[in-house]
């Protein structure tokens, strides 16, 4: 079998492949946001961090020739944005949502500004692990070409869930997120915890950006993000602040995003705008299905400004 004509099998393969390829930025940004929100703050600026991380990662990878240096630079830049957000929000009477929106615009703006000279050059890509070596269907093999960052992201989701559940750090973050007063009574400094939770969240979002520019689609341009950073923030609420659910939600979004092109490629081409809306329709549907008129959002950290 030369595997050339796979017909309708192309759709599930594209959804699996799309889930793996497209979901990684969602995983990183939503895990970052999950950590930040569990500490009691919302950072809406992660879209800006993602775009800036994409630019910084691409630029550093181009100059050093090492994509991993790019990832490190993106994480560092993301951490800086997180620290800025955390520091601004620790000042009295500062609203975290407003600061987030400001930082989103700021991050995108300076990424465009510094990114100008990097639209043209070609930077080295991150390596992929060929998990499809066992199959002789080239389509499946291509779909199972998995990037290292995807694996890291998946492991990180489980690690973060374990951290929240079983470690001292996780407990501290949760206490600060659920009750500032209780945290103070325990002798913790809520601002300090939130500062570093936001910084770590920013670093993760930066890595998500580096994945965009260094692996898939694999080049820096100003339209690279198309709102993934914002969608990932919404994913966290959808995932009920649970890191493992964040992973599933990200995979679902990635797979649903691949549906539109895949259906067109097998000849279902009427109404493709509708298929492109699939991820959003799916989110709305799931949110409606899991909502409850009688109780507040379950799993929400108590100190979160949107649930107060």
């Amino acid at each position: 079998m030369n595997g050339l004509d796979i017909g309708w099998w192309g759709v599930p393969i594209a959804i699996i492949g799309g889930a793996i390829r497209v979901s990684t930025p969602f995983i990183f940004v939503s895990l970052g946001e999950c950590l930040t929100e569990r500490s009691g703050r919302i950072n809406l600026g992660l879209e800006g961090t993602l775009v800036f991380g994409a630019m910084a990662g691409y630029a550093v990878a181009f100059h050093t020739g090492s994509p991993w240096a790019g990832v490190a630079a993106a994480a560092l830049a993301g951490m800086m944005f997180g620290l800025l957000h955390g520091w601004l929000c620790s000042l009295p009477k500062v609203n975290d949502i407003a600061v987030g929106i400001a930082l989103m615009l700021f991050g995108t703006g300076i990424a465009f500004f510094f990114g100008k000279p990097y639209i043209q050059p070609v930077a080295p890509d991150l390596p992929a692990i060929p998990l499809g070596w066992w199959t002789d269907i080239p389509q499946l093999e291509a779909a199972l070409r998995v990037n290292v960052l995807f694996v890291v992201g998946a492991i990180l989701a489980f690690a973060m869930a374990w951290m929240f559940k079983a470690t001292r750090i996780g407990l501290i973050v949760r206490v600060v997120g659920d009750s500032t007063d209780a945290a103070r009574a325990m002798g913790l400094d809520p601002n300090w915890v939130r500062l570093w939770s936001t910084a770590a969240g920013g670093a993760l979002a930066g890595i998500g950006g580096a994945y965009l520019s260094l692996y898939y689609p694999g080049s820096w341009n100003e339209g690279i993000s198309s709102g993934q950073g914002l969608m990932a923030v919404a994913l966290v609420i959808f995932a009920r602040w649970n890191p493992i659910n964040c992973l599933w939600a990200a995979l679902l979004f990635g797979g649903a995003g691949a549906l539109g092109p895949a259906l067109q490629s097998v000849g279902v081409s009427e109404g493709y705008y509708l298929f492109f809306a699939a991820p959003y329709v799916l989110t709305l549907g799931l949110l409606v299905a899991t909502s409850s008129p009688t109780q507040a959002i379950s799993g929400a950290p108590g100190e979160l400004s949107i649930t107060k």
């Binding site: 594209a14 639209i119 965009l212 898939y216 689609p217 341009n221 198309s226 995003g257 092109p261 000849g267």
Partner: protein, 375 residues
């Protein structure tokens, strides 16, 4: 506040010095103005100026204007096809004094240029794309475009020789006439090599949507397409993803050969520098730019990327023969007998639509052999 208004010695000296400077500059001004009436030209791009594609092609054309004496160039990029472009046009007119404006994106025309043109009758608006018509639209609006569909026909010839699976792919942004003509021409070029070839088209719905373009290329590769071209603003992602999947590439807008030299067959490129220089020279010499400007390979509006190493000798021969044919002008890619992919007759035996036929500018069909639908 009162302090600020009072004279102080240093401030007085400073403003005095700048006044002297202004006077000196002013005395020189009439001299240079006498040589050529100064003209401020505004360019508006929907994306980045260096996107390896549509906007870069226009920006390179605009850059050529800097060499003309008396021309000041103002540019703004990343201007969405919304009321934002009206603000940009107004600020170019009122603050920069632009009297010739090139809003280069298709979606700028209606309603944005149409709102600005009656308001500023002394400003000339030149829109890239085929929307203007004499009986409906203001006379200070012009339309210009090139027959780049013929370039896609030549792309199709190169693709037709390169494909082994007899399936070629096209990543398209939106189903507007220019895009449809490119898709149809690409397939018909390939079918001039082998009439069994089909072309799979995927619409992304946006001019620039990196992740969706990459997904589209992957979906095409999964379905067995082995040559890909596109009509999106920045073809870089399509080319890089296609090369990654081992597909041959046909470029669009500008040359993307440097991205994957082994896989790049050829490409249809714009050549705006010549067009813009001519338009600006017409304006400077007091003339009026015609409202309807068109041109193709023969007029130097478009050009082809040099053929890549993967192009066979046989392909080269047919490519060059057809190119010579197109250079004579009046070439028809759409000619009968031809049906669309729903079975409706487009052209009967002997009927043909030459490259300069305005009927092509309202194309609303995909020809037989194209797999896809426009809605």
């Amino acid at each position: 506040m009162i302090d600020d208004r009072q004279f102080n010695r240093r401030g007085f000296l400073k403003s005095g010095a700048s006044l002297v400077g202004l006077a000196a500059a002013g005395s020189l001004l009439p001299l240079s103005a006498a040589r050529a009436a100064p003209l401020t030209v505004g360019f508006i791009y929907v994306g980045a100026k260096d996107d390896f594609g549509y906007n870069q092609a226009h920006a390179e054309g605009a850059a050529a204007l800097k060499a003309i004496e008396g021309v000041t160039l103002v540019e703004e990029e990343n201007v969405p096809e919304t009321v934002d472009v009206q603000k940009t046009m107004e600020s170019m007119i009122n603050f920069d004094g632009a009297s010739l404006i090139f809003p280069t994106s298709f979606g700028y025309f209606d309603p944005h240029i149409l709102a600005m043109a009656p308001k500023y009758p002394d400003v000339r608006f030149q829109h890239a794309g085929g929307m203007w018509s004499a009986d409906k639209h203001p006379m200070n609006v012009g339309s210009y475009f090139g027959y780049i569909g013929m370039g896609q026909y030549l792309n199709g010839i190169a693709a037709g020789h390169a494909t082994k699976t007899k399936k070629i792919g096209f990543v398209a942004a939106k189903p507007i006439p220019q895009v449809l003509l490119n898709i149809n021409s690409f397939l018909l070029g390939a079918r001039s090599v082998d009439p069994t070839i089909t072309c799979q088209v995927i619409f992304t719905g946006e001019w620039s949507m990196a992740v969706k373009e990459a997904e589209a290329v992957n979906a095409l590769a999964d379905q067995g397409a082995d040559v890909v071209t596109c009509h999106v603003d920045g073809p870089k992602v399509v080319m890089e993803t296609g090369a990654g999947r081992g597909m041959f590439l046909c470029g669009y807008h500008a040359s993307q050969a440097s991205l994957a030299p082994d896989k790049y067959l050829t490409g249809a490129e714009w050549n705006w520098a010549q067009v813009y220089t001519e338009m600006v020279n017409t304006t400077l010499s007091g003339g009026t730019i015609p409202n309807f400007v068109r041109g193709g390979l023969a007029q130097g509006f478009i050009k082809m990327s040099p053929l890549g190493p993967a192009v066979s000798a046989e392909a080269r021969t047919q490519f060059e023969a057809t190119q010579a044919e197109i250079m004579k002008g009046g070439f028809a890619a759409i000619k009968g007998p031809l049906k669309d992919n729903k079975g409706n007759v487009i052209a009967t035996e002997g009927q043909s639509f030459a490259e300069d036929d305005v009927a092509l500018e309202s194309m609303d069909y995909l020809v037989e052999g194209v797999v896809g639908s426009i809605s």
